[in-house]
Amino acid sequence: MRTSLNALFVAGLVMLASADPAPANANPLQSQIESLRAPNHYWHRITWKKSLTEGLIEARRSNKPIFLWAFIDNPDEERC
């Protein structure tokens, strides 16, 4: 198992390196990790107020209703 995982690991690093060129001046491992993140992801397209207090202040300022989502934690930063 260890040998096959090692081979898979090395093969994966080659694939990642070829698919996403590393930014200049970056640590190679850091570049590989950063290349995993999807740009323009759905989760980040809405800026959520993190409290009802903040939301109501903004609702009164903008004369808009609140769309409230009861979530596990922060919807743009967390697994759920």
């Binding site: 995982l5 980040h44 409290s51 209703p65």
Partner: protein
Amino acid sequence: MFAGAVRETVLSDPNVINRLKSQFVPVAIRAADLNFPGIDGEGQLIRTIAPSKLAQQGLCVLNSSGQALSWVVTFRDGKSVESFLDRSLELFRANPNGNQPWRTERYMQFPEGRTADGLVEPRYEQCSSILLKANGSVVPPPSSGMLVRLTGRALDQHGRLLADTLQQEHYVEHKVELPSYMQQQLINAVKANGDNRFPLPTLLANWIIEQAYLGQLDMQPLREGPHSGYNQVPVCTLYAQRNGANGIDIGGETEVSVSCPVRPEDGANYSNHIKLHWQGFVEFDDTTIHKMLLLGRGVEQAHWESFAASLSKHGGVCPSRDTLVQFLPSGHPFSIDCPVVFGFEGLAANSHLSIVPSNKESNRE
């Protein structure tokens, strides 16, 4: 699961996203706060809407005094999501300020599954008083640990990243804190072992194993609590070895599994089995880790379905979005068996760590 299903269906539609940004004020609160509101001003505001909720989690539209205009749990189909937004705007126009009694419309499924309305007293004066005291100041809780950003991807059989990043069994982003005491344990162990390789402290090893998985929260290995499944860790050879005055190399193998044949409350049947090879390093000073990079690569076999939404009911494939919005509380069924990769990037609390991709601003049109 509800939250993940909402994010993958309702909140992935570009029209819905644009409407929420332009016609509403999007607010996300913790489900725990909805179900157990505090005694401060925020708690008082939440306590007003809590009695009319239909479930532990949900979607709600409120006017500017915090009166719940409408609640919804699921939708008939994709089009119904926008119809719900239309209906909620009508209700808002009829009662924008909350200075009159109101009947909250409540839908287990919009539009047909309407249940008894909830009754709400006028709220304008009371809400104004709370907001005046808050004065717009909402202070986030302090963080004492290291912020770690995790990204997980599923790969195809050729080792290429899968293009789909919508569903959590293919793509995960997660921010989590590495507690100070785990950092201290590692630093103490390095000092005690000199240049020798030593096993990573168990708490830190488990912390790594717990984060590195695809799928929703229910699929987390080593999760404790009433909803957790049966866990096994047959392999954990994570090690650390000093590399220079302030560096530590980390490596090793991990294998972990979690399974639950039938969860009593919702009939969920799930399993997750992850094998990973790790490589990484840590930079530290006397008391604190100030940088951590870890890459785990291997394979993951995961399966999830429930009574409400099972693969067998849908010909072995994941149902369409039109169907999935009917089953938000149970999430969508899936099964994966593929190569995976996980990256951890941690910087000390006083360092800048952008949790959002650098091109985020360009998406906020």
